[in-house]
Every structure is written in structure tokens, then in C-alpha cells.
């Protein structure tokens, strides 16, 4: 996806956001959520507005400007015995972006999305008014902004409750499982005792091997379990150039998946690991997306109500396998309670995330995956989407009407919009 638009940056975020169609963070959404509509030349960037305004160790509260990068926050908090209550799979996101996507992490079954921990937001509305909103003040705007993809107002500041951690290290266990049902059972059982769980399965394995995968679970190490030293930010490798388009094919992905699978033990093996290794494994390789070549890739992520519809994940994965498309990673995570955000993604069930290398005809495959999601009563994650149609999205998202209602109140002309909202929500181009 090429971007002809230019970012406007300033430490004074309100100054560049005023009048802009959208404010973006570090641009890690996989689709077009953080891109302006085709005819709009500029977009505000929050990344220079990155100050921690208040860090109260007594109450465990943080107030910061929306452009603060998660990685910077992590390393400010860990020495003080705190950690963000919810983190996604990369630290190259901003606080504002985390709120806009209402991100979830490996602890969703316990802590919910980031929105649950947001105490208040300072928002620049489409009308140019700066407002503080929370569960008490302008609750409609507050709820619509959690997971609202930046369409309800420019997020200027975020106030957040933090998690206290007993050490800066993670105690992790991994093991492999054969078969989808045992795999889902292992995820479910792990959720009872472990605050962090996630699983990876080999989408290319079929038949009885379908759902062979690796379960990863963890918790913060207690002080007596932790190594003596304090973890330092990890050094990063870089993929120096785009690999040729053919590098990632059915065979190489199959090989990678098989090797990855066999590297993990049959029985749970425990070890203390660096928090970056545990939470942000892909960040270890900069520009890792280059392995997909110049055409790049997108993701598809849905959550399926497996408890109400047993077999939903299996049926979905069968559609995915039939559609092919060499997914490097297929990540499964059991989700807990639904968040407050009007368009917040997670709901009780199992979330499935697939990498999809760009290729001709991908839109049809994505539509088939969306149809399968719809058939199971699931929903999709806007932060991963770039190819869905408005019609399919409308069917998948009965909550859209309530979200539209709030936007009508705060932005009747829909001045705030993105390429994605033009595509999916009928916004003016």
C-alpha cells in the first residue's frame, strides 16, 4: 500500500491534529486504519507528543501524551516495579494507538483490553474542542473512543492504571500439542492458572495433524525466582532488504512451521525469560515484514464463540486451509469478557490471527474468511483489516449503529475519517 499523504508532526499534537482528518501513531496497524482517505493529503502524527506527564507510584497511575511509544513506557516502568496492564505483540505502538484499537494481549482472559484500564482521555473533538472524558464525563465519547480507531476524536492524552510486577522477568512454560481439540483444551486449562497464555498452530498441517501447535504460558517471576540482574533492552537484528517474492512459499513456510514445532518440548518446560522476548517476540527482528517481499502482507484476525458453537475454530481453519495462502503464523488466544468499547474487538471465545501474503485474488479469500467468521457468529479486528467490504462488515458488526450514533453526536459531518472508514463505514472520501 503506497501512501502519497504526508504526516504533520509536532510536539504540540493539538496544533497539528486541529483540522486533520485523523491522527496516527506508529502506523503498525496491518491495514488502512491509520491511512487518510485517498483524496486527503495530510494526516497528523502523534509520535512527537510523547511525554510522560505524571507517574504516581502510590496509586499506580500514569498520565501521558498519546504519542508515547509503548517500548519507552515499558523501560520507564520496569525499574519502578510497574508494567502496562495490557500490551499487544509489538512495542512499536503508541498509547493513543493502543486505545484507538483497544488492544488486547496474552492476558486478555484475566485483564481484558487496554480500555478496561484507561481512567480518562483528553480528546480534541472534530469541532475543535478539547475535552476530558471518562466513565463519568461524556461516557458516550469515552466508550466509543476505546476501539474507535481514532474516528471519534484526536486522542491527546491517556490516563491509565498500571500493573505492579514482583520482578522484571517472566517465568514461561512452553509445550507442544497434537490436534486442535487437545490444543484448545490446553489453552483453556492454562488460562485457569496463568495470567498470560497464547498458542501458535501450524495452519498447513491437515487431517489429524490439524491444530498441531505450541502453547506458551507465563507469569511474572517472583523476586526469589528472578535472576540477579536487571534486564536490558534487547539488541535487534534487521532484515536488511526485501526478500524476493518467491522466498516465502508453501515449502519454506511448511519447513519453518515444522522446525518451530519440533523445537518445543512435549511436556511443559519452564524457564525465566526476558520480558521483551515474551511479549514482543517479533520486535527482535527489525523490518521483519521484508521477508514477505515487496508485495507485503496483511493479516486477518477474528474471534469465534467456541463455547457456544463447539467446532467453530476447526470449521474456520478448514476454510483457511482450503483457501491456502501460506500463513507463516497462526496465533490462537482464548479471550475473556467483552470490553466497554463500542467497537472493541475481543469477546469470549477464541481469537485466530493469520498472516496473509499479498497476492492477486486475496480479497476473495479474505471475504471467504469473513463469511466463515459470520457463519460462526464471530467478529473481526479492524486493526488487521484492509480488504473487507462494507457489506460484509455491516453484517459482521451489529454494533456499528450505536457507534455511528455517537459519531453523529460529536462529528455530524464525519470530518474525522480514514481510508478504512471510507471503505467500511460509508464515510465521505
Amino acid at each position: 500500500m503506497s501512501v502519497a499523504a504526508r504526516e504533520r508532526r509536532s510536539e504540540d499534537l493539538a496544533a497539528v491534529a486541529r483540522g486533520a482528518v485523523l491522527t496516527r501513531g506508529l502506523g503498525r496497524a496491518y491495514g488502512d486504519s491509520a491511512l487518510p482517505p485517498a483524496g486527503v493529503a495530510t494526516i497528523a502524527s502523534a509520535v512527537l507528543a510523547d511525554r510522560i506527564l505524571e507517574l504516581d507510584a502510590g496509586s499506580g497511575r500514569l498520565r501521558a501524551e498519546a504519542g508515547l511509544a509503548l517500548g519507552d513506557l515499558v523501560w520507564a516502568l520496569l525499574p519502578r516495579g510497574f508494567f502496562p496492564p495490557v500490551v499487544p505483540g509489538t512495542q512499536f505502538v503508541t498509547l493513543g494507538g493502543m486505545v484507538a484499537a483497544d488492544v488486547h494481549g496474552k492476558n486478555h482472559h484475566v485483564e481484558g483490553t487496554i480500555g478496561r484500564h484507561v481512567v480518562a482521555l483528553r480528546i480534541l473533538t472534530a469541532a475543535g474542542e478539547t475535552l476530558d472524558c471518562s466513565r463519568e464525563r461524556h461516557p458516550d465519547l469515552f466508550r466509543a473512543t476505546l476501539g474507535g480507531m481514532g474516528l471519534t476524536g484526536h486522542i491527546l492524552e491517556v490516563e491509565l492504571g498500571l500493573a505492579r510486577v514482583p520482578s522484571p522477568w517472566i517465568l514461561q512454560e512452553t509445550f507442544r500439542v497434537v490436534g486442535l481439540d487437545p490444543f484448545l483444551a490446553a489453552l483453556r486449562e492454562s488460562a485457569g492458572d496463568w495470567p498470560f497464555t497464547v498458542g501458535w498452530i501450524d495452519c498447513l498441517a491437515t487431517g489429524r495433524a490439524l491444530g498441531r501447535g505450541v502453547v506458551l504460558r507465563g507469569r511474572w517471576a517472583r523476586a526469589e525466582e528472578a535472576p540477579d540482574g536487571f534486564p536490558r533492552p534487547l539488541r535487534r537484528w534487521t532484515v536488511p532488504f526485501h526478500l524476493p517474492g518467491f522466498a516465502l512459499n508453501g515449502l519454506s513456510v511448511r519447513l519453518f512451521n515444522a522446525v518451530y514445532y519440533r523445537r518445543h518440548p512435549r511436556r511443559p518446560r519452564a524457564g525465566v525469560v526476558h520480558p521483551e522476548t515474551f511479549f514482543f517476540p517479533l520486535d527482535a527482528v527489525r523490518s521483519w515484514n521484508r521477508i514477505y517481499g515487496r508485495r507485503g502482507f496483511t493479516q486477518f484476525q477474528c474471534v469465534l464463540p467456541e463455547a457456544e458453537r463447539p467446532g467453530a475454530v476447526r470449521r474456520f481453519l478448514e476454510v483457511a486451509a482450503a483457501r491456502g495462502g501460506s500463513s507463516f503464523l497462526c496465533v490462537l488466544k482464548d479471550c475473556g469478557e467483552e470490553g466497554e468499547g463500542l467497537l472493541s474487538f475481543p469477546r469470549p471465545g477464541v481469537s485466530v490471527a493469520l498472516d496473509l501474503p499479498m497476492r492477486p485474488g486475496l480479497a476473495a479469500s479474505v471475504d471467504a474468511l469473513a463469511a466463515a467468521t459470520l457463519a460462526e457468529g464471530g467478529r473481526i479486528y479492524l486493526a488487521k483489516d484492509s480488504l473487507l467490504t462494507a457489506e460484509r462488515f455491516g453484517a459482521l458488526e451489529p454494533r456499528l449503529a450505536a457507534f455511528d450514533e455517537v459519531r453523529r453526536r460529536w462529528d455530524p459531518e464525519r470530518r474525522l475519517r480514514s481510508a478504512q472508514s471510507v471503505r467500511l463505514m460509508g464515510d465521505p472520501p
Binding site: R6, R9, E11, I52, L53, A76
Partner: protein
């Protein structure tokens, strides 16, 4: 090291203050807006090691030289002893805007030359009185040659660089170490909206290279380093060429 910084709320100064705080230096922030200074001070306290003391602030405006002495005195009192003074503050506007707006032009010339020089004089006196110290000031590659897009801004920065050179010659033996940093094009809010040329730098990298120069006491440092060679070429281009090219 105890460092007073003028201009730490934004851009390269913000990055520089964070890197100094992260390694345990004690900071005092000077700038135009007390509320902004306070926010940046809280940010530095939160980002630095928990042991770092609180970061103080005082108002100081390059266009108001009468306040320089009091601002630097406040820094010296808060820090106990002043080891280094850093100036990243400055004003910038495009040549077109400066040509069309004499009032703005006067402000830029005053802030970037006479204001900065007078501030450095106050800083120099205090550092020498304490037995010496380090003075690091941000010039610009724009001062290295009279060029079409930076005639006025470049003139102020050229004068500043010459002043800093003289200061180094005159007071080095008394323990005053003067560092002139010449950044090339750096992607900050100051240059937001301008077309990005080749060899553009990021503020974090420029800050890291400036700190290395400050520690080593190098009198002149280009950052990103390639600008040293770029400017070496541009300085040698004949006038006939400079009249024709656009840079």
C-alpha cells in the same frame, strides 16, 4: 554532570535531555514556557533511573537577554555546581518567509545570533568562575556557506559559529570547553513540512553524537557525520556554481 539546557522541551533538545537523564546526569531546564518546561521535567524524572533527583526549571527567552543572568543563577543554585550549559534553542523560518516578514526576520536574527551569544556570555562567566566547564551550542550546516535557501538563518548561524570558535581559542586554557554542533537536516517539528533531503537525520542520533562530542570536548561536530563531507564539498564550490544551483 550537572547540566543546564536551554531548549529541552522540543526536538533535538528533548532527545538530548532524555539521553543525559538516562545516564544519570542532573538537569535543569530553561525555556520560554513554564508549563511546557514543567511537563518536560516530569517526563525526564519519569524516564530516568528512579534514583535521579527532581529536574528544576526556570523561564528564559532568547529574545529577552535581561532574564539570562537570573535564569542561569537559578540553575546554578538548584544544581549546586554548573558543569555544563547546553543551548539547543533557536528559531527557524524559511528564506521566503523571512524575506517577506521583517519583524520575523529580526526575531530570528536576534534569537539565533545576538540572543544566543549574550546567553553564552553569561554562561561562560559562571562556568569560568567555577573553574571551567563545558558549553555546547547548536549551530547549523546552514552557517557553513552562503546559500540560496538559508541566506538569513545561515548568516546568524555563521556568526554564532565564529563566536564559539573565538571563545574556544580565548578560554580553553582556563578550562572552558566549547562545542559547536552543526546538525544537517534533522527530522524534527522545526523542519516539519519541508521536503526531506538526502542524509536527513533523526533527533535521537544527533543527540547521541552531540553528547559524545560534549564528553570528548570536540570543538566542532557535524551530525549526522556525513554532513561534514557534504559541507566540505559545498564550501569548495565556486561562486559561479553556487549562483546556479538551488541548495
Amino acid at each position: 554532570m550537572n547540566v543546564a539546557i536551554l531548549g529541552a522541551t522540543r526536538g533535538i533538545g528533548r532527545a538530548l535531555a532524555r539521553q543525559l537523564a538516562a545516564r544519570g546526569d542532573r538537569l535543569f531546564l530553561l525555556g520560554r514556557d513554564l508549563e511546557e518546561l514543567g511537563k518536560s521535567a516530569r517526563d525526564l524524572e519519569a524516564r530516568a533511573a528512579p534514583a535521579v533527583a527532581s529536574v528544576g526549571t526556570a523561564r528564559c527567552d532568547l529574545l529577552a537577554p535581561e532574564g539570562f543572568a537570573a535564569a542561569l543563577d537559578a540553575a546554578a543554585v538548584a544544581l549546586g555546581k554548573l558543569d555544563a550549559v547546553v543551548v539547543t534553542a533557536g528559531l527557524f523560518a524559511t528564506q521566503d518567509r523571512l524575506e517577506g516578514d521583517p519583524a520575523l526576520c529580526r526575531q530570528v536574527l536576534e534569537a539565533d545570533f545576538s540572543g544566543t551569544v549574550l546567553f553564552c556570555e553569561e554562561a561562560r562567566r559562571r562556568l569560568l568562575a567555577g573553574g571551567g566547564g563545558r558549553l555546547m551550542v547548536f549551530g547549523s550546516v546552514a552557517g557553513d556557506r552562503g546559500r540560496k535557501p538559508v541566506v538569513l538563518y545561515g548568516a546568524a548561524k555563521a556568526g554564532l559559529a565564529r563566536y564559539l570558535e573565538g571563545l574556544d581559542h580565548r578560554f580553553r586554557s582556563q578550562g572552558l570547553i566549547v562545542v559547536c554542533v552543526k546538525p544537517g537536516f534533522v527530522r524534527t517539528s522545526m523542519t516539519d513540512g519541508l521536503p526531506v533531503p538526502p542524509f536527513a537525520g533523526e533527533p535521537e542520533r544527533v543527540a547521541a553524537e552531540a553528547i559524545r562530542a560534549l564528553d570528548r570536548g570536540r570543538p566542532v561536530v557535524y551530525s549526522p557525520g556525513i554532513w561534514r563531507w557534504v559541507m566540505a564539498v559545498i564550501r569548495r564550490l565556486p561562486r559561479a556554481v553556487m549562483r546556479r544551483v538551488g541548495f
